[in-house]
C-alpha cells in the first residue's frame, strides 16, 4: 500500500512537471479519463421527489491575499462587502428579491459581530433583507450555504446569499481579564475615592494582552502541531508533504494562468491599486522547500511553512435559489447543491480527519460511489492532513476500527483531486473557503465535463463537512 502511494507520488511529481511544461497534453490526458469514468454513473440525478431542487446560480470571491498585504488596512465587512457587490454585479440579481443573507466567519471583529448585516447594508442590498452570521471554524461558509439550503428546502425562502469572510491582517487583541475587570470597576466607581481605590489595584502585568486562541480550546494543541502528529501517525514523510504542496501550487498557477479561476472578481482597495488575483500561489522547488525548518514539532517534525496553508485575507459569496425561482428569473444556474453531511470526532488525535468521516457518509446518503465523482474539492489545511485523509480513506483497518464501517471507501484518484489548486496555494481565509470549494467544483464540472463533485473540509474542534455538488445540465 505504501509503495502504491509512493508510486503515485513519483508519478505525481512527474505530472506536476508536465503540468508546467506540457500542460496541454496533460489536460488532454485528464479529459480522457474523465470521459471514460463518467460513463458508469450509478445515478442519473440526485433530485428527490417532493423536495425542492436547490441551485447555485453563481458565486464570486475577492482575490485571496496573504494577510498583511493589500487588504491589511481594511475591516472584515469591507472585504465581505466587496464579495457581495461583486456577486450583485456578476448575477445582476435584483436586490429586493434576496430573502436572506448568511455569512460565515471565524475570528470575529467585535465591532461588527454580525458581519453579514454590516456588509450587506454597505454593499447595496436592501435594508429590508435580514442577515445573520454563523461560525464553525474552517467550515463556516459551508454552514452558511447549508443553512441557506435548509431555508429554501423548508420553503422559508427562495433566494439566499451565502458567503464567508476572514481578515487575518487584523485580529481582536484584548486587554487582559484583570485589566478589563479594573476598567469595568472604574466605570461603576462613582466618587473620586472609589476611583482611586480601583486604580490603586493596577499592576503592570495587567497590560499584557490576550490574543485570540491559536490552539484548540479543548486540548490546548495548535492545529499545526496536531497536523504534524497526524502525518506521523499515517507515516507520511516530509518529502511526500512537500511534493503535495508543490503540486497544489503548480496546479493553482496553471489554473490562474489559464484563467480558470473565474470566481475571482477584481477588488479596488480604497487607497491602493486594484487587486485582480490571488497572491499566495508560489510554485517553488523541492530543494527550496526542503531547506525550511519544521514549524511546529521542532527539530524533527515534518510540517513546515511551505506545506501548510498560510494566513489569508479574503471573502466569498454565492447566490443560492430554489431551481424554479432561478428558472423563472431567467437564470442558467451552475450547479445543484445536493446531500450534505456534518461529522465530528476526537479533537485531539483526529482533529483534521473530518473529510475521511464525512465522505463515505455523504456518498451513502446520496446513493453514489467514489467512482461517480468527477471533481473532488477538498480543503487543504496542510499537505500532511490531506495525505493522511487519503490514506485513512484507503485503509480497511481505519474504517473498521474507528469509523465502524465494514470496509474502506477508497481514496479519491488524484487526477480528479483539487486540480485547480487548493487552500495550500490559493489561500485559506477560514470563513470564506467553503464557498470557494463549491464554486471550484461547479466550475470544474462545467469546464471539464462530469456530473458530480464532492466538496469536503476539516475544521477546528474535530469537525468535518462534505457536500455533493451536481452539475446543472447545460
Amino acid at each position: 500500500m505504501t509503495s502504491l502511494l509512493t508510486y503515485t507520488f513519483k508519478n505525481l511529481r512527474n505530472t506536476s512537471k508536465w503540468a508546467l511544461r506540457f500542460c496541454k497534453f496533460h489536460l488532454f490526458f485528464l479529459f480522457k479519463i474523465r470521459f471514460e469514468s463518467s460513463q458508469t454513473k450509478s445515478k442519473k440525478t440526485l433530485a428527490k421527489p417532493n423536495i425542492r431542487n436547490i441551485v447555485v446560480v453563481d458565486g464570486v470571491r475577492t482575490p485571496f491575499l496573504l494577510s498583511g498585504t493589500s487588504y491589511k488596512d481594511l475591516m472584515p465587512h469591507d472585504l465581505a462587502r466587496a464579495a457581495l457587490s461583486g456577486l450583485l454585479h456578476r448575477t445582476s440579481v435584483p436586490k429586493d428579491v434576496v430573502d436572506y443573507i448568511i455569512f460565515g466567519t471565524v475570528i470575529q471583529e467585535v465591532k461588527t459581530s454580525n458581519v453579514a448585516r454590516e456588509a450587506a447594508l454597505g454593499a447595496g442590498f436592501s435594508d429590508k433583507t435580514p442577515a445573520h452570521t454563523v461560525t464553525m471554524a474552517c467550515i463556516s461558509s459551508n454552514q452558511a450555504m447549508t443553512t441557506a439550503v435548509g431555508l429554501i428546502a423548508s420553503g422559508q425562502c427562495d433566494v439566499v446569499v451565502a458567503g464567508g469572510v476572514e481578515l487575518m491582517s487584523d485580529i481582536p487583541i484584548r486587554h487582559s481579564r484583570k485589566m478589563r475587570k479594573m476598567m469595568l470597576d472604574l466605570n461603576k466607581a462613582k466618587t473620586l475615592a472609589q476611583r482611586l481605590s480601583v486604580i490603586s489595584k493596577f499592576r503592570l502585568n495587567f497590560l499584557s494582552p490576550e490574543l485570540p486562541a491559536v490552539s484548540e480550546f479543548s486540548t490546548s494543541e495548535t492545529m499545526g502541531h496536531s497536523a504534524d502528529r497526524l502525518a506521523a501517525a499515517f507515516a507520511i514523510s516530509r518529502e511526500e508533504q512537500d511534493e503535495y504542496a508543490l503540486r497544489s501550487h503548480s496546479l493553482a498557477k496553471r489554473a490562474q494562468d489559464e484563467g480558470l479561476l473565474s470566481d475571482v472578481v477584481p477588488f479596488k482597495v480604497p487607497g491602493r491599486d486594484t487587486v485582480t488575483q490571488d497572491n499566495g500561489i508560489r510554485p517553488s522547488s523541492l530543494d527550496q522547500m526542503a531547506k525550511l525548518k519544521p514549524a511546529f514539532i521542532k527539530p524533527y517534525g515534518t510540517v513546515t511553512a511551505a506545506n501548510s496553508s498560510f494566513l489569508t485575507d479574503g471573502a466569498s459569496a454565492v447566490l443560492i435559489m430554489a431551481e424554479e425561482k432561478a428558472l423563472a428569473m431567467g437564470y442558467k444556474p451552475k450547479a445543484y447543491l445536493r446531500d450534505f453531511m456534518y461529522v465530528s470526532q476526537d479533537p485531539k488525535d483526529q482533529l483534521l480527519l473530518g473529510p475521511t468521516y464525512a465522505t463515505p457518509k455523504v456518498l451513502e446518503k446520496a446513493g453514489l460511489t467514489m467512482n461517480d465523482i468527477d471533481a473532488f474539492e477538498f480543503h487543504e489545511a496542510f499537505s500532511g492532513q490531506i495525505l493522511a485523509n487519503l490514506k485513512a480513506m484507503d485503509s480497511d483497518w481505519f474504517a473498521q476500527n474507528y469509523m465502524g464501517r465494514k470496509a474502506k471507501v477508497g481514496s479519491p484518484p488524484l487526477e480528479k483531486f483539487n486540480t485547480w489548486g487548493g487552500s495550500l496555494s490559493l489561500g485559506h481565509p477560514f470563513g470564506a473557503t467553503g464557498c470557494r470549494l463549491v464554486m471550484a467544483a461547479a466550475n470544474r464540472l462545467r469546464k471539464e465535463g462530469g456530473q458530480y463533485g464532492l466538496v469536503a473540509a476539516c475544521a477546528a474542534g474535530g469537525q468535518g463537512h462534505a457536500m455533493i455538488v451536481e452539475a446543472y445540465p447545460k
Binding site: 509512493t6 501517525a233 474507528y402
Partner: protein, 763 residues
C-alpha cells in the same frame, strides 16, 4: 515456545521494515541466528544504525534481570565490533514500559551483601562501557523508565522520550530501602545538577517526560500519536524509533551534539556548585532535612547522600565503589526487606483474586455527599465511572459537589489535568436529592452517618428502587455489615467497602464480606475498587473488621498513657519517632473525638477487657466541651485556618488532671510507651489472622501500613514480627500484662510463633 516467540518477533520486524521503507532509504539486515537465540533482546540494522529492541517474554514489564543483562552485553559487543554499524538505538517494544527497574527477585535471592555488591559492580561496569561507547547510543523511552532502567538510559549518549502520561523517569530505589546501584548516584548529579539529583533519589518521585526535558534528563520529546493505519500505541513506538534513528545518525555524523544549552539560572547554579563550600552547605542542608523527616528510621537516604558526596568529592572511582558497597549493605537491612515486602504486597493487593464480575459496574450511586461520599464519588468520576451523588438537602449536596470539583481542579492547578479533562470528568457526576436513575444503578455505595437505624432505613429505601443485580455496599468503619444486612431482602448482594479519609489520597480500601455475601458481589466490589485506583484487602465481617479493630486497642492505650501524665506533644513525638506518620494524639483529633468514642464503646462492648486501658470518660468530657478534634477547631490541639504550628489546647489540662492515674515506672520509659502502643496493635492484628478475619498476612500488612499508617520501615505487623522476632514481642507483652492485665495477653498464634523460631508469616 521461546522459538515461536522469537520467530514472531522476527516476522514483526521484517513487516515493520517493509512498511517503513517509504520514509527511509535504508537497507536492513536481519540476523536470524542472533534473533533465535535471544529471548529478551533482539536487534536489527537499519543503514548504519543498530536498533536494539527489548521485550522480556511472559511479563508485562521489562526488568533488568541477569539474562537481560548478559544478552544486552552480547548485543553491544556485536554492535561495537561491527564495522557496518556507526550508532545504535535502544528501545523497548513493550507498550507502556521501557525498563521498569532491576529484577527484585535477583536481589532477594542474594544472602550476603557481597553478592549484592557483586551484582552492582557488574552493572556498573556494563554501564561504564556503554557510557564510553564511541558509537553513540540513543535511548528511546516510551513508558516507565525507572530504577535500573533510568540508570541504563542515562549511560547512553542521548535520550528521547515520548511525551505520554505513562512515560515516567525516576529512581524509586529509596522507597525499597536501597539506593540506585548501577551508577545513578554518580551520573545523575552531573546530568541534572546536585539538588535535582538529590530530589530524585531521596524522594523516589517519578518525573514526567516534559519535566525531564526541562531538567536535562532527556534530550528530545516525541509526541504520542493518534490512530493511523495501525493502533496508536504501536505506531507511536515505531515513530519513536524512526525519530531516534535520525538522531542516532545525526550523532554519528556529528551533526548533533549531545550537549545541551543551559539557561542562565542553570549556569549560575552549576557555577555555585563548583565552590566546595557551597557543596558542603548543600550536603548539610539535605542531610538535616532527611534526618528530620526519617527520624533516623530509614538508612537508605543517608547512604545516598554519602555516596553522592563520595563521588563528587573523591572522584568517580571512589564513588562507584562506595555505591556498590552501600548498595550491598542496604539490601541486607531489615528496613529494605520490610519495604520490599510491602512493595510485593501492594502488587498483590492490586489484583482481583475473585475474578471478573459477571456484570461490570457502569453506573454507580453514592448515598451521602459528606466527606467520604464525595471522596468516593471523586475517585470514581475521574476514572470515567458514571456516578450519582445523592444527599437529602441541597446545601449538603452542594458541598459534596464542590468537594469533587475542588479535588479535580487542584489537579488542573498542578497541571496533571487540563481544564477540559476536568470538565469532562465532572460531567460524569450527577448530583440529586431523590432516587431517580437508581433503577439503572449497578452498585450503590452508602456513606451516610454511622448509625445503624439510619443505615437500615437507607438500605430499605434503596432496595425498593434498585435492580436485582445491583450491589449494595456500605462504607462504615465499625458497624458490622452482617447487622446492616439483617433488613436486606438480598443479603448476598450486601458488602462492606471501608474507605479511608481523605479518599482521594489514601490508597487503601478494606472490603468486608459477610457469610452471606456472594463471590460475585465481592468480585464486583474489588473490581470497582481497583478501577478507583485502590489497594484492596478483603476481610471477614466482625466488629471493627480488621483496620478499626487493630487501631482501637492502640487508641485505648493512647488514652491510658495520656492519663498517666504524658503530654500530647510528647506522645506525638514518641509515636512519630517510632515511624508512624501521624502522632497518636493528633490522630485522635483527625479521626474525631466523637467517632473515636463511638467506635471504642461499640468495640469495647464486643471485646471486653482486651480493649481495656484508658478511660472513655476522657473522650466523653472532651465531647461535652465541644473538643471534637480538627473538625471543631479544638481537640488536644487548637486548629486555626492558616496557622501552621498548632498549639496545645490549654483547656484540656483540667480534663487530663481530673482523670490522672499513677504511672508505673518500670513500664513507662519512652521505649516502653512506644512498645505498649505497638504490641497491642500487632497482637490484635495477629489475632485477626488467627480468627480468620484476615485471609493472609500480606493483607494484614498492607491494611496496617496503607490504612492506618503503621510504620512502613517495619513493613506492617506481620513483617515486624518476622523481622523483630516473635519471642521478643511476646516477652514485652508478658511484661506489660503483668503490670496492666489481660489487654496485653499475647494471642495463641503469636505464642506459637515465639515457641517455634522457624515459623514465619513470610517464608
Amino acid at each position: 515456545m521461546v522459538a515461536s516467540r522469537a520467530i514472531g518477533s522476527l516476522s514483526r520486524f521484517t513487516a515493520s521494515r517493509t512498511l517503513r521503507c517509504s520514509g527511509y532509504i535504508c537497507r536492513s539486515f536481519t540476523r536470524a541466528s542472533a534473533l533465535l537465540t535471544r529471548t529478551h533482546i533482539n536487534y536489527g540494522v537499519k543503514g548504519d544504525v543498530a536498533v536494539i529492541r527489548i521485550n522480556s517474554p511472559n511479563s508485562k514489564v521489562n526488568t533488568l534481570s541477569q539474562e537481560l543483562h548478559s544478552e544486552f552485553m552480547e548485543v553491544m559487543n556485536e554492535v561495537w565490533s561491527s564495522s557496518q554499524i556507526r550508532s545504535a538505538v535502544l528501545i523497548s517494544t513493550k507498550p507502556g514500559c521501557f525498563i521498569a527497574g532491576a529484577d527484585l527477585n535477583m536481589l532477594n535471592a542474594c544472602t550476603t551483601s557481597q553478592e549484592v555488591t557483586q551484582i552492582s559492580q557488574e552493572a556498573q561496569k556494563m554501564f561504564e562501557k556503554l557510557e564510553k561507547s564511541t558509537k553513540p547510543v540513543v535511548a528511546a523511552i516510551n513508558g516507565s523508565c525507572l530504577g535500573g532502567g533510568l540508570e541504563l538510559a542515562i549511560s547512553c549518549q542521548y535520550r528521547i522520550a515520548t511525551k505520554d502520561k505513562k512515560t515516567v523517569l525516576g529512581s524509586p530505589e529509596v522507597l525499597l530501602g536501597i539506593l540506585p546501584g548501577a551508577g545513578a548516584t554518580q551520573r545523575l548529579p552531573k546530568m541534572v545538577g546536585i539538588p535535582a539529583a538529590f530530589d530524585m533519589m531521596l524522594t523516589g518521585r517519578s518525573i514526567r517526560a516534559d519535566r525531564a526535558k526541562k531538567m536535562g534528563l532527556v534530550d528530545q520529546l516525541v509526541e504520542p500519536l493518534g490512530p493511523g493505519v495501525k493502533p496508536p500505541e504501536e505506531r507511536t513506538i515505531e515513530y519513536l524509533e524512526e525519530v531516534a534513528i535520525t538522531f542516532a545518525k545525526g550523532l554519528a555524523d556529528k551533526k548533533i551534539t549531545p550537549k545541551r544549552d543551559k539557561g542562565l539560572v542553570e549556569k549560575m547554579t552549576s557555577y555555585a556548585l563548583s565552590i566546595p563550600f557551597v557543596r558542603q552547605q548543600i550536603y548539610k542542608k539535605v542531610e538535616e532535612k532527611v534526618r528530620k523527616q526519617t527520624k533516623g528510621l530509614y538508612p537508605a537516604p543517608l547512604k545516598i547522600i554519602d555516596v553522592v558526596k563520595t563521588g563528587i568529592e573523591q572522584g568517580s572511582n571512589a564513588g562507584y565503589l562506595s555505591e556498590s558497597q552501600r548498595f550491598g549493605e542496604l539490601a541486607m537491612t531489615k528496613e529494605s526487606k520490610a519495604l520490599m515486602g510491602l512493595y510485593r504486597g501492594q502488587t498483590q493487593c492490586k489484583k482481583n483474586k475473585f475474578g471478573a464480575p459477571q456484570k461490570e459496574v457502569k453506573q454507580l450511586a453514592v448515598l451521602g455527599a459528606g466527606l467520604m461520599g464525595a471522596g468516593i464519588a471523586q475517585v470514581s468520576v475521574d476514572k470515567g465511572l458514571q456516578t450519582i451523588l445523592k444527599d437529602t438537602t441541597l446545601p449538603a449536596l452542594g458541598r459534596g459537589q464542590q468537594q469533587v470539583f475542588k479535588g479535580l481542579n487542584d489537579k488542573v492547578k498542578k497541571k496533571t489535568l487540563t481544564s477540559f479533562e476536568r470538565d469532562a470528568m465532572f460531567s460524569n457526576l450527577i448530583g440529586q436529592l431523590d432516587y431517580r436513575g437508581f433503577e439503572k444503578a449497578d452498585m450503590v455505595i452508602e456513606a451516610v452517618f454511622e448509625d445503624l437505624s439510619l443505615k437500615h432505613r437507607v438500605l430499605k429505601e434503596t432496595e425498593a428502587v434498585i435492580p436485582d443485580h445491583c450491589v449494595f455496599a456500605s462504607n462504615t468503619s465499625a458497624l458490622p455489615i452482617g447487622e446492616i444486612a439483617t433488613v436486606s431482602k438480598r443479603p448476598e448482594k450486601v458488602i462492606g467497602m471501608h474507605y479511608f479519609s481523605p479518599v482521594d489520597k489514601m490508597q487503601l480500601l478494606e472490603i468486608i464480606t459477610t457469610e452471606k455475601t456472594s463471590k460475585d458481589t465481592t468480585a464486583s466490589a474489588v473490581d470497582v475498587g481497583l478501577r478507583q485506583g485502590k489497594v484492596i484487602i478483603v476481610v471477614k465481617d466482625g466488629p471493627g473488621f480488621y483496620t478499626t479493630r487493630c487501631l482501637t486497642p492502640m487508641m485505648s492505650e493512647v488514652i491510658r498513657i495520656l492519663q498517666e501524665g504524658v503530654g500530647p506533644k510528647k506522645l506525638d513525638s514518641l509515636t512519630t519517632s517510632f515511624g508512624f506518620p501521624v502522632g497518636a494524639a493528633t490522630l485522635v483529633d483527625e479521626v474525631g473525638v466523637d467517632v473515636a468514642k463511638h467506635v471504642a464503646e461499640n468495640l469495647g462492648k464486643e471485646f471486653g477487657e482486651r480493649f481495656a486501658g484508658g478511660s472513655l470518660e476522657m473522650l466523653q468530657q472532651m465531647i461535652s466541651k465541644g473538643f471534637l478534634g480538627r473538625k471543631s477547631g479544638k481537640g488536644f490541639y487548637i486548629y486555626q485556618e492558616g496557622v501552621k504550628n498548632k498549639n496545645l489546647n490549654s483547656d484540656m489540662d483540667s480534663i487530663l488532671a481530673s482523670l490522672k492515674m499513677p504511672s508505673q515506672p518500670d513500664v513507662s520509659s519512652d521505649e516502653d510507651i512506644q512498645y505498649r502502643l505497638v504490641t497491642r496493635f500487632v497482637n490484635e492484628a495477629i489475632l485477626c489472622l488467627q480468627e480468620g478475619v484476615l485471609a493472609t498476612p500480606t493483607e494484614g500488612d498492607i491494611g496496617a501500613v496503607f490504612g492506618l499508617g503503621f510504620p512502613p520501615c517495619l513493613g506492617g505487623p506481620f513483617h515486624f514480627v518476622d523481622l523483630y522476632g516473635a519471642q521478643k514481642i511476646v516477652d514485652r507483652l508478658r511484661k506489660y500484662e503483668a503490670a496492666y492485665g489481660k489487654q496485653f495477653t499475647p494471642c495463641q498464634l503469636l505464642v506459637d510463633h515465639a515457641n517455634n523460631p522457624n515459623k514465619k508469616f513470610y517464608q
